[in-house]
Structure formats: structure tokens, C-alpha cells
């Protein structure tokens, strides 16, 4: 197929090839082909939808959202377009919008499994409205929770099918089965509860030598740097306390003007929770306790 593309570079087959590449996990190659093809065929909406999907799979949600939204009017009947708009908004935490798009997918194709599963996860979380004060007394639903940004990331969505090929009149290739490594999956539930606290901005797990283990703070792009800096402060304070024979450091709260950083030891790792300055530390620690137990079980 790549040869055909070289022979007739104006052919619209580039979208199909890109779709095949995406299904094989070759996301960068797919993006490159699509960008190249779209310079010659700028009005090819289907290719733009695939490009949006490719950016989503790459983890560039903002770019994916931009492309998909730009083409929404011209392809609003597309199952894929609605599905990936739903995925994008879900990742961004805009669950109501995500639900709207997933419902649109099911109107187009009531059998769409991805949309059904996503709706099942998102819909029960909707009635959980946090009160103005952040005191959470009732336990939120046990199973459903907002999707986390997990590291290590998978290159390809586990269930990314080649939905676009039938639209082009081609046989879809079987999607490559990709195993999702999720060693810290057990943390999703307690972490979801913690992140539901209004004043909690995000959280992440790091090793004592400053390396990021798991990220639940999607909005922050400089986390690796922050991990190193926090571990530096923590280790130095720990050593100083040991020198003073005051025991090992267990918890550390750093209060800054714009945010509060809570670092808690969890076995060999550190759990770091970033909150707004007005957060109630007692509540944060209460929720953190359960997470720490899970971290200890998994990471030791």
C-alpha cells in the first residue's frame, strides 16, 4: 500500500494507510502521512478525523480536540468523530460533554462497545456533586471514577478498532492486541476519591530518588522536574532529622502562596498531593491513607 501511495501521491488512499498504521501502533508514521496527504487534499474531512484520532492516541489531547472540533460540522454524523470527541473530553475531565458525544455515537451505532463502556463509567459519576465546602462525608460510588493519566502510557488504545476502513469500503484489519500494563490499577479507586475533593489539584507517586512512578495530575507538564525537586527537599530533611536522632521523616507539607504540596512516605515511594492553599490537610491525609496502603502492597 505504501508503494501505491508513492506512485500516486494524490490518492486519497493515504487515509487508509494511516488508519492501518494507527491500528499497528505506528502513530508518528500515521500522523506524518496524514499531514502530508492533507497538504495536497486539504478538504478531505475523513483524513482530518483520522488525524484527530492519531493525536488522541499519541496523547496530544488539545491538538486532537482542535482538529475534531474544527471538522465537527462537516462530519457530525461520523461515529469515530463523536467517539474521539467523547474520549478527548473524558480525558480533559469535561464529563458532561463527553457523555453528550458518547450518546451521539450510540444514536449512530447503538452497538458501539467503546461508547457504551465509557458511558457506563461516566454516567454514575455525574450525580456526585461536591458541596461548596469540601467536606465529603458520603462515600462516592465505589467503582466508577474519572480516568487517570497513567504512566507508563500505552502507545495504542487497547480497543482501538479500525472503524474507518468500512467507511472507505475496505475490509478492516484485525486490531493488534496490546496488553495494558496496569500494575497500579488498584490505586485508581482510592485515588479517584481523593481527586474528587474540590481543593485537590492532582497527585503523583514518585520514587525517593526523584523519578515519577505514576501520574494523576494531567494538567501539569513539568512533573518530572517537580519530582526531582521535591525528592531533593524530602531526602535532605530526612537526613537532617536522622542526624538529629528525631526519627525518619514520614510526612512533609510545603505551603506555598498558590498551592500546598503534601508529600507522604509510602514504603519505598513517595505520594505527592498538590492542593489549593485552602485545602483541609486532615481530609487530604485521611484519603491518602488508603492510597498509601495500596502503594505499599504494590510497590513495597
Amino acid at each position: 500500500m505504501a508503494d501505491e501511495l508513492i506512485m500516486d501521491s494524490k490518492a486519497l488512499i493515504f487515509a487508509t494507510l494511516a488508519d492501518v498504521y494507527l491500528s499497528s501502533g505506528m502513530i508518528d508514521e500515521a500522523i506524518s502521512i496524514l499531514q502530508d496527504g492533507l497538504t495536497r487534499n486539504p478538504n478531505y474531512t475523513l483524513a482530518k478525523v483520522i488525524l484527530g484520532r492519531a493525536y488522541y492516541l499519541k496523547g496530544n489531547i488539545d491538538e486532537a480536540l482542535k482538529i475534531l472540533q474544527e471538522n465537527y460540522e462537516s462530519a457530525k454524523g461520523s461515529e469515530t468523530l463523536n467517539l474521539y470527541l467523547g474520549h478527548c473530553y473524558k480525558k480533559k475531565g469535561e464529563y458532561e460533554k463527553a457523555i453528550g458525544y458518547y450518546e451521539a455515537v450510540l444514536k449512530i451505532n447503538p452497538e458501539n462497545r467503546e461508547a457504551k463502556e465509557s458511558l457506563e463509567v461516566l454516567k454514575p459519576t455525574q450525580p456526585v456533586q461536591k458541596p461548596a465546602s469540601e467536606a465529603i462525608v458520603e462515600q462516592p460510588p465505589a467503582k466508577p471514577q474519572p480516568e487517570m493519566v497513567a504512566i507508563p502510557k500505552t502507545d495504542v488504545e487497547p480497543t482501538a478498532p479500525t472503524e474507518l476502513l468500512p467507511e472507505l469500503g475496505l475490509e478492516p484489519m484485525p486490531a493488534r492486541a496490546v496488553e495494558v500494563p496496569a500494575p497500579l490499577e488498584a490505586l485508581n479507586e482510592p485515588m479517584g476519591r481523593l481527586l474528587e475533593i474540590k481543593s485537590v489539584k492532582g497527585a503523583f507517586i514518585l520514587s525517593r530518588d526523584g523519578l515519577l512512578i505514576q501520574n494523576y495530575y494531567a494538567a501539569r507538564t513539568d512533573l518530572e522536574e517537580i519530582c526531582a525537586l521535591i525528592a531533593g527537599i524530602f531526602n535532605e530533611a530526612d537526613e537532617a532529622f536522622k542526624f538529629l536522632k528525631c526519627g525518619a521523616l514520614e510526612r512533609c507539607i510545603i505551603e506555598k502562596k498558590e498551592e500546598t504540596i503534601c508529600v507522604i512516605t509510602a514504603g519505598e515511594s513517595l505520594l505527592c498531593i498538590i492542593t489549593k492553599p485552602e485545602a483541609k490537610p486532615g481530609l487530604v491525609f485521611l484519603y491518602a491513607k488508603k492510597i498509601i496502603e495500596e502503594i505499599r502492597k504494590v510497590l513495597g
Binding site: L229, I233, F241, L244, A248, L249, R251, I254, K257, I261
Partner: protein
């Protein structure tokens, strides 16, 4: 006067003010606790926080297996308090923030 408000709190071992290079300006500690060591440590940690996280007037609360340690950067230096792990941290924090 100012430090005694902190040291009057039950299970507080002592409080002090140190310069950013770790020298004690004033301190009140019960016997057996070395104000100079804690002052030096407070200065070290606050300098590190300032350098790493850019927090000019930040505060730090550290819990160890035995004690709880609070430090706050002020323009004049670092204010710090050391208490037992079982001390009422909420009360210490209120007094601490007023200073």
C-alpha cells in the same frame, strides 16, 4: 514574648528564630533539645524550598516518627517550632501563622 506563646502549647519542645544562614536569633527550648541544630536545619530546609520551589514566604511542616517540626520563612529569618508527635498541630499552626 512571641516565642513563649508557642512554647506554652502542651507538648511543644521549643521554638526559635534563625537567620537564613542558620544562626539563632532567639530561642526557647526545654532541656535536652538543641536550638542551634534545629535552627540550622530550619534554615537549610527553607533555603532549599525557596531555591527549588520558588516559595519566597513558604512554610513547611515535617512529621517524623518522633516529632513534628514547623518552619516558616519571614523577611527577617526563619521561625521554627518543634513539638512532640502527639502535640496539637492545629493549635501550633494557628499561633504560628499569626506570627
Amino acid at each position: 514574648m512571641m516565642l513563649s506563646e508557642l512554647t506554652r502549647i502542651p507538648r511543644v519542645f521549643g521554638a526559635g528564630i534563625a537567620t537564613f544562614d542558620g544562626f539563632i536569633v532567639d530561642s526557647q527550648f526545654i532541656h535536652g533539645y538543641d536550638a542551634e541544630r534545629f535552627g540550622a536545619m530550619a534554615a537549610k530546609i527553607m533555603t532549599q524550598v525557596k531555591k527549588n520551589l520558588g516559595a519566597e514566604s513558604g512554610a513547611v511542616i515535617l512529621y517524623t516518627q518522633d516529632i513534628v517540626f514547623l518552619a516558616k520563612a519571614k523577611p527577617e529569618g526563619v521561625l521554627f517550632v518543634v513539638g512532640d508527635k502527639e502535640a496539637n498541630l492545629g493549635l501550633i499552626k494557628i499561633k504560628f501563622e499569626k506570627m
